[in-house]
């Protein structure tokens, strides 16, 4: 893992280095407490001769996302003369022991060390875009500079804009935000467009539920994105660039602001960058919570101060974009790839990947896998490798059911697709899309009809309402799906759903509407039996739809230990103590599963709610 980058950073080998993940995931796991605890422990131990004798200075890094969120809080400890050690799931209470044993006594605390899963997680990855994430201090430009930072910019200014575009074209870089349009071509269009004033926009409105790649990139290595923006602006001939970022990402915004300020101070931004005569300014625009603003024409309306509603294309943004000027929009990850291409050369970049999809792709791997987190894989890797090698398999050894790729515009691929390679074209052929990189793994307990309903609910809420197919079509689709999940589906529902899906796909105005039926269509294609079970037998095979299940205690297995009674948030369990067997009141039970996981004898079972009657479906 990024050892090369690490070596470049460590200039003083007498330095004890402690790296703590302070990304959003780490903070949610209590990283700030751990950070403070280290600071306190190190300070209070400084009086001891051991440290002073070694002439060690302590530098507690604020690193960004390491990617392996499932093991948060992850802490790396590097003591000169000792191998670097990583600790997993660190809490503040563990810190004194780590400081005492590892740093002072030079004995790593075995019981807290990362295990095999940690290594498997990194082995099949190719971390290039993420090479600095979790390694450098994102708030210090010197760390970025020490690891070849802004050298691609210097090279770009030397070779000229046309050559820059050529390199990006030759490298075969395709947009990482969704559809996969060739980036070099997009730049060439914008460069060729008439007009003195042009704009570049970095789309950091990462709205797909289940996706946090861009957030991590901005939090952990903001300069890589800035460098891509400056090179892109230079290539298309823009002197002003915008970063449109979700306001739900306060840490990313904060770090971008710091990065912009530092880049200005060092002369990589502003007037006459590196004496080339090229000027570039970057402004941050905060989104206000509208998923549709990820669509480029809607995003521009939003920057202009209007309701973020899409416009028909043509005219394309490359001719008439923001304020009517030629505009180029790229996603965060696309731009972060640019410095790699320019610095290493197109040929080297294109060595990784498949014929039509070059380079790597960053995914947010989440859901029911053992190792969740941020991953970067070479294009062409199979879904199986992602789920089983990097992801370490399914939680609790359950059965894999599906992987959802591409968020609300993507699809669910089942077991038969485990060998499908990850590249733009194979995914589209299978009924999903690359999307921005959300990758949610589902197991036998996930109901595919419920997932389709979930995404439709999301789209329905986020539809801007401008065009009828999306505004009303998705509403009708949601009604049908909700009905099916509630056990009230009727025979005609499937046909209607299919027909609506086709209509919305073919007639909606923008990408949001056109791709909205994808989750329905893909689940329909691969998991039709689940739809049928809901409608025909009023049964949820995954036992997830609440109207179609109930919890029942098997009296023979119940030991009356009262654990379920205590854990029940709805006071739905009678008895369960003093020798009386537990009994769940169906009407009070909210099916939260708390008792299920608590019961030491597994006496509580989820069963079909047989009260619903079956109907006939052809």
């Amino acid at each position: 893992m990024s050892n090369e980058i690490k070596e470049k950073l460590i200039t003083d080998d007498s330095l004890i280095q402690i790296s703590i993940c302070l990304g959003t995931g780490g903070v949610a796991a209590g990283a700030r407490d751990v950070f403070n605890s280290f600071a306190k422990e190190l300070e209070s131990n400084q009086v001891e001769a051991v440290i002073k004798e070694r002439k060690c200075r302590h530098k507690v890094h604020q690193t960004g996302c390491r990617g392996l969120c499932a093991l948060d809080v992850l802490v790396d400890v590097l003591v000169p003369g000792m191998a670097e050690t990583s600790y997993a799931r660190v809490t503040a209470a563990m810190v004194p022991e780590i400081v005492q044993e590892h740093i002072i006594n030079k004995k790593p605390v075995e019981k807290y060390l990362v295990d095999e899963a940690h290594h498997r997680f990194f082995d099949k990855q190719k971390r290039r875009v993420l090479q600095r994430c979790g390694v450098i201090d994102p708030e210090d430009i010197n760390d970025y500079l020490a690891t070849d930072g802004y050298q691609a910019l210097a090279k770009a200014l030397r070779i000229g804009p046309e050559k820059v575009i050529d390199e990006v074209k030759t490298a075969g870089l395709r947009g990482r935000g969704g559809a996969g349009f060739p980036t070099g071509l997009k730049w060439a269009f914008c460069r060729a467009a008439e007009g003195d004033t042009k704009y570049l926009i970095c789309n950091a409105d990462e709205g797909d539920p289940g996706a946090f790649m861009d957030r991590s990139q901005l939090e952990s290595d903001p300069h890589s994105v800035l460098e891509g923006i400056i090179i892109g602006s230079y290539a298309i001939g823009a002197e002003k660039a915008f970063i449109y970022v979700r306001s739900e990402y306060p840490l990313a915004i904060e770090r971008l602001k710091i990065a912009i300020r530092q880049a200005k101070e060092k002369g990589y931004l502003g007037d006459n960058i590196l004496n080339s005569g090229f000027n570039c300014r970057i402004e941050i625009e905060k989104g206000s919570g509208a998923f549709v603003c990820g669509e480029e024409t809607a995003l521009m309306s939003s920057i202009e101060g209007n309701r973020g509603m899409p416009k028909p294309r043509p005219p394309y943004p490359a001719e008439k974009g923001l304020w009517g000027k030629p505009t180029n929009i790229n996603n965060v990850e696309t731009l972060a790839n640019v410095p790699l291409i320019i610095l290493g050369g197109a040929a080297q970049y294109a060595q990784i990947g498949t014929e039509k999809s070059k380079g790597t792709k960053v995914f947010a791997l989440t859901g029911k896998v053992n190792n969740t987190g941020l991953i970067e894989v070479p294009m062409g890797i199979t879904i199986k490798e992602i789920v089983y090698d990097i992801g370490g398999g399914i939680n609790n050894d359950k059965k894999f059911k599906a992987i959802q790729i591409g968020g609300p515009s993507g699809g669910c691929l089942g077991e038969s697709h485990l060998d499908t390679p990850i590249d733009y074209d194979s995914l589209v052929a299978a009924g999903a899309i690359m999307g921005s990189g959300g990758c949610v793994v589902m197991d036998e307990d996930t109901c595919m009809v419920d997932i389709a309903r979930y995404f439709m609910d999301f789209i329905q809420e986020e539809s801007c309402g401008k065009c009828v197919p999306c505004r009303i079509g998705t509403k009708r689709m949601l009604e049908i799906l909700t009905r099916i999940c509630d056990g009230e589906g009727v025979a005609e529902d499937l046909q209607n759903l299919e027909e609506l899906a086709k209509k919305v796909k073919n007639t909606a105005l923008c990408g949001l509407g056109q791709t909205a039926p994808n989750p329905v269509e893909s689940t329909f294609r691969y998991f039709k039996d689940e739809y049928l079970a809901h409608i025909k037998e009023k049964r949820c095979p995954a036992k997830a739809c609440k109207n179609l299940i109930k919890y029942r205690v098997t009296p023979d297995d119940c030991k009356s230990c009262a654990l379920c009674v205590k854990v029940c948030p709805s006071e739905a369990i009678l008895g369960g103590k003093k020798g009386v067997k537990a009994e769940i009141q169906n009407d009070k039970c909210i099916r939260c599963g708390a008792c299920l996981s608590k019961c030491p004898t597994k006496a509580i079972k989820v069963v079909d709610n047989d009260s619903a009657a079956a109907v006939e479906v052809k």
Partner: protein, 173 residues
């Protein structure tokens, strides 16, 4: 059971002076409306009518146009928010791991629908788009605090703590 604090009573207290610096900063600025609304909401906690009117006057926009923008974006609010804002993530990873049951329980516990505020103005509960901490799913946040790997039990416990802090008597109602 939405916030029923008399709106007129609330709005009498609006001090428009806080707005002037923001308006001054953005004068002549293209596309100023959204950043101005964001800053105004930061200052007032929500967007009261007199504030909207003053913004319209300054940016030369119709109140109806501003209202259109406010209602388009989910982060703008026309009503005051509770002292503690509970947000349950409705991202895919959280959904798959049971966030909906957590959201329902919180709504039941506080006696409000999601998106509403308690009468005592102590709590607002809402579902939000992915907060981007999917590795810790299901996730909820209370003000700036992020809670990962939630269960219904842990969520109710956390809220009990805040209920006590706020001296809320919702329990007794």
């Amino acid at each position: 059971m939405t916030a029923t604090v008399s709106e007129t009573k609330q709005e009498q207290k609006i001090d428009l002076a806080k707005l002037e610096d923001v308006l001054f900063h953005y004068r002549g600025f293209r596309g100023a409306l959204i950043p101005v609304l964001q800053k105004a909401q930061h200052a007032y906690g929500y967007l009261p009518r007199p504030v909207i009117e003053r913004i319209g006057e300054s940016l030369k926009l119709h109140v109806s146009d501003i209202y259109g923008v406010i209602t388009f974006y989910s982060q703008f609010r026309l009503k005051p928010q509770g002292k503690y804002v509970i947000r349950v993530c409705r991202g895919t990873a959280c959904h798959v791991k049971g966030s909906q049951t957590i959201a329902e329980k919180i709504s039941e516990k506080l006696g409000i629908e999601l998106g509403e505020t308690t009468v005592d103005l102590n709590f607002t509960a809402e579902e939000v788009a992915c907060v981007g901490a999917c590795g810790m799913a299901p996730v909820m946040t209370i003000n700036e605090e992020t809670y990962g790997l939630m269960t219904v039990g842990k969520a109710t416990e956390a809220i009990d703590g805040y209920l006590e802090k706020a001296g809320s008597n919702l329990h007794k109602e």
